[in-house]
């Protein structure tokens, strides 16, 4: 189809015309890619750039008003010369690395056990492995505070009453890393479980037929095939743990272990707030993340991880004998520690009148058990209104976000368009910027957008879409990379157009990853806290902020009730999402 003509000069000097053909490739290159670059620029780059600019100024760049005459490196200098800076960086990086390694080991193991072995109870394990994600980090840290504090923690009180003084303390680096692993291994599980299910079993069968042992097949065939998912998940978890605030705020403070995220919190709370220095710290974190992303891209760019192709395949289940019961016991023990224990502590706190006990007898005294906290919460109109707001925000984030993330992931992984790497880099930026800092970026930049966004739910939805771009696009991207190009090419060679191929070939094969992304987005949106801190009003308050207010008041019983409610809602979301995912899996 010829849609445009332009003049061209013929060799003899006369003027002729040249026709331009409008093809899907040219539309993608000149319309779609720039469009999505613009969308991501407004959603992500603009707030981040405002933060970057602010890090060099003496005054915050509020509403795009920059006083460039004050530009200098003074904020960076102040940050670097803090005597605790080196300690903060060390603690943050070490804890993040240990947490990431642990999360990968646990998440990948659970994914492999549930998707690739004949372990009894694997369906239950698959469902349970993600449950810690239903608990926001703040609440998880709070639950482990109740369980593991050295004097009054429930575990220590019970053990001491039985004559065992283990001196277990959650207020240590290892305690913090344990909580990191528990609440971040589900990310790894989600990514790798989808990839393991999609991986081509014929490669493993061929290896087995050639005499390779099970261990060799796992290490040399299975793991390399799902390496992009592992690396993507590990990278995601690493940067999330570098910037996580809630867990160090609750657990590290007691032990005077310094973390960068808590320092940023302090800077914003200072009077007057040191937001420019906080921006400087945030910019340093972004720099680290960009480097990590580029490393990951370098590692995976030269390999092909296609496993979903024109050949039929299904996931191969490894048959184990009595050892399958060891997998069951280990998995269930982990689930008990990671899921059941914290839930028990939350349930206990939600009904116990007095939380101040020093013996097992006082702890187990049921005479002051009450449902008052539940009735108070259920009768509070602000809490119910915040729940409605949160559900609206979740729906909006998923509805608009998944469309954006699929498009971005497709452009990055399934095309050769020039400029797609820029999409990849921009889409990962929000991960490294601590939520409360990016919240400032949204406030400073979007408040000036003249379409009345500020003070509405839409500004929170857009902030969430921006904030979760890395998780959403990577979850979908991990599925897309495993679909061989030959499937799309075969479709087009058979006469199908681009949209038909996308709708009938690519989309159905990517559905497990899309459902994983939807589930992840719903969970993250529901529990997100920091992003909305600067954007909400009385009418747009979300559930997590109500919980934060209660926590700041020391109303731990009510926090526990809200946490239980939150877990229930997220569980429903997860079960429904999983059911849909299974329906469309091969």
């Amino acid at each position: 189809m010829s849609v445009a003509t332009r003049l061209r000069t013929e060799p003899d000097g006369s003027t002729g015309t040249l026709s331009l053909r409008l093809t899907p490739a040219s539309i993608a290159q000149w319309v779609l890619l720039p469009l999505f670059l613009l969308v991501l620029a407004v959603l992500i780059l603009l707030p981040v750039l405002v933060l970057v600019v602010g890090s060099f100024l003496a005054e915050p760049p509020r509403a795009f008003q920059f006083d460039l005459s004050t530009a200098s490196l003074a904020n960076y200098y102040e940050v670097l010369r803090d005597p605790e800076f080196a300690e903060m960086v060390y603690n943050t990086i070490v804890a993040a690395i240990i947490g990431t390694v642990g999360a990968v080991l646990v998440g990948l193991s659970l994914a492999w056990v549930s998707s690739r072995t004949n372990t009894p109870g694997r369906k239950f394990i698959e469902y349970s492995a993600v449950l810690p994600m239903m608990v926001p980090p703040l609440v998880g840290a709070f639950a482990w505070d109740i369980l593991g504090s050295p004097q009054s923690g429930m575990l220590n009180v019970l053990l001491r009453s039985a004559g065992i003084d283990m001196g277990f303390s959650i207020y240590t680096m290892w305690g913090i890393c344990l909580v990191f692993v528990i609440y971040y291994s589900p990310y790894v599980f989600l990514f790798t479980n989808a990839a393991l299910k999609n991986a081509d079993a014929s490669l493993e069968e061929a290896a087995s037929m050639c005499g390779a042992s099970r261990l060799r097949v796992i290490l040399q065939i299975t793991l390399p095939l799902v390496l992009p998912a592992i690396l993507s998940a590990a990278l995601m978890v690493l940067v999330l743990l570098i910037e996580i605030f809630a867990i160090p705020a609750v657990l590290a403070e007691t032990a005077n272990i310094k973390f960068i995220s808590v320092q940023i919190w302090k800077m914003i709370g200072f009077a007057p707030p040191k937001v420019n220095q906080a921006s400087a710290l945030g910019v340093m974190l972004i720099t680290i993340t960009v480097v990590l992303v580029l490393i990951q891209q370098k590692l995976t760019s030269k390999q092909s991880f296609v496993t979903v192709s024109g050949k039929g395949s299904r996931p191969r289940v490894m048959e184990f004998g009595w050892t399958k019961w060891i997998f069951t016991i280990l998995s269930l023990t982990y689930i008990f520690i990671a899921v059941v224990l914290p839930l028990i502590s939350l349930l206990y706190v939600s009904v116990k009148g007095s939380l101040f006990f020093s013996s097992a007898e006082q702890m187990l005294d049921t005479s002051d058990f009450t449902t008052t906290y539940y009735s108070d919460v259920l009768a509070d109109p602000v809490i119910s209104h915040s729940m409605i707001n949160t559900l609206l925000v979740c729906g909006g984030t998923v509805g608009l976000g998944v469309f954006l993330y699929f498009a971005v992931a497709y452009l990055i992984h399934k095309t050769n368009l020039k400029g797609r790497r820029m999409l990849d880099i921009i889409s990962v930026l929000p991960v490294a910027v601590p939520g409360m800092i990016i919240g400032l970026g949204y406030l400073w930049s979007w408040i000036s957008i003249p379409i009345g966004l500020y003070g509405t739910l839409m500004i929170i939805i857009l902030a969430y879409i921006s904030q979760f771009t890395p998780q959403g696009s990577r979850a979908i991207g991990a599925s897309l990379v495993q679909i061989h190009r030959e499937l799309e090419e075969s479709s087009r060679m058979s006469g199908a157009g681009f949209t038909y191929t996308l709708r009938r070939i690519v989309f159905p094969l990517a559905l497990p990853g899309i459902f994983a992304a939807i589930t992840l987005l719903l969970v993250l949106s529901f529990r997100e806290l920091a992003t909305a801190l600067f954007l909400y009003t009385a009418k747009t308050q979300v559930f997590s902020l109500v919980m934060l207010d209660l926590w700041l008041r020391g109303s731990t019983n009510y926090v526990a009730v809200l946490a239980i409610l939150q877990v229930c809602v997220l569980l429903v979301i997860y079960v429904l999402g999983n059911a849909l995912k299974h329906k469309y899996e091969r």
Partner: protein
């Protein structure tokens, strides 16, 4: 005209004459708060026409909603939208909204006088003199701009199950008792205006050497007072320093085994400046609400819900709190505070970061 019609006409005429008077009487009732007139009928009419006041507060959201229930019962035509956040975040929000010319907030209360005065100096605070202005001592206001809408005491606390007999601290100096090493819950000066007051008090009364002694106690440094209180209440620390508001919740409402100490040397009183924001969308409702909040009724609601302390001498303390007259309160005038602010921070951060 029949008798019945005449009767009906007469009744209607009487009612028509009486109703405005009745409406006026109702307005007067609403505006009369314990003998204080908190506004004029014209102000109330304008406030009702606006219908809403947006209240930015550094105090807890749940507490504020309980406090303002009384206002909303008195003025059902005005809804109060509460936005609660830490002082630093509120300050940043207010400044950004002002710069973008999208001021959403009408009334603001902060926990930091210096930030409050920064807003005044930036022209972001309306002129305002509530009817109860004279009830507030000079140290608790900047006349015409802000008034101490709330307050809290900062004092030591201890866990009565762990600290007994002669070990019970009675003075600030007892915080440096080596018995409490590694068992002391405290906070850095970076928390904000509340923590600044404590450090300024300790410097004024005991000097830098005392702060160095405190540092040798390896205090657990928390960024929120509720975590200080819970840490002491649960026995993870034996003593701590916290705010009266956070201590009240834990002690009175949660029946924790904590005891406050009101040292004879003095107890810092932190003012929470309340002000009306320039450019707010509901100026009349804001003024009426602010006038009410500073009235005896408003301050009594504040004290009883929150365990806070009012700067009004005619407002009684919360149940199970001692009267303020029995506590030696320490404070600084706004002028002195602002002069010393940065210097105290630098001094403290050299000793305790």
């Amino acid at each position: 005209m029949t008798f019945k019609r005449l009767q009906k006409f007469t009744m209607t005429a009487v009612l028509a004459a009486a109703l405005p008077g009745y409406g006026f009487a109702q307005e007067a009732d609403a505006l009369n708060v314990d003998g204080e007139m908190i506004g004029t009928p014209e102000l109330m009419a304008a406030a009702c026409k606006e219908g809403e006041v947006v209240y930015y507060t550094a105090q807890s959201d749940g507490d504020e909603r309980q406090i303002v229930k009384t206002f909303q019962e008195r003025f059902p035509c005005i809804s109060v939208s509460v936005v609660s956040a830490a002082t630093g975040r509120l300050y940043e929000r207010v400044k950004t909204e002002a710069q973008a010319k999208q001021t959403f907030g009408d009334v603001l209360i902060l926990s930091d006088e210096v930030l409050a005065q920064n807003l005044v100096d930036a022209g972001l605070v309306r002129d305002w003199t509530p009817p109860s202005a004279a009830k507030y001592d000079e140290t608790f206001k900047v006349e015409g701009k802000w008034y101490s809408g709330s307050g809290q005491l900062m004092y030591p606390v201890y866990n009565k199950n762990l600290v007994k007999g002669d070990d019970i601290p009675k003075s600030w100096k007892d915080l440096a008792n080596p018995k409490f090493k590694d068992k002391f819950a405290f906070f850095p000066i970076s928390v904000g205006g509340t923590s600044w007051m404590v450090y300024a008090f300790l410097l004024d009364h005991y000097g830098e050497d005392f702060l160095k002694e405190l540092n040798t106690q390896s205090p657990k440094m928390f960024t929120t007072y509720n975590t200080v209180m819970l840490n002491v209440a649960r026995g993870e620390s034996e003593i701590g320093v916290s705010s009266s508001v956070n201590e009240y919740v834990v002690r009175v409402k949660q029946k924790a085994p904590v005891v406050p100490i009101y040292p004879a040397e003095g107890v810092p009183f932190v003012k929470f400046p309340m002000m009306l924001l320039e450019g707010g969308q509901n100026p009349s409702a804001a003024e009426l609400f602010g006038n009410w909040y500073l009235s005896k009724e408003g301050q009594t609601a504040l004290v009883n819900v929150r365990g806070a302390n009012s700067a009004r001498p005619d407002v009684e303390s919360a149940p199970e709190n001692p009267p303020l007259s029995e506590v030696k309160i320490w404070g600084l005038s706004n002028k002195v505070l602002r002069e010393r602010y940065d210097g105290v921070i630098s001094q403290v951060q050299k000793i305790i970061n």
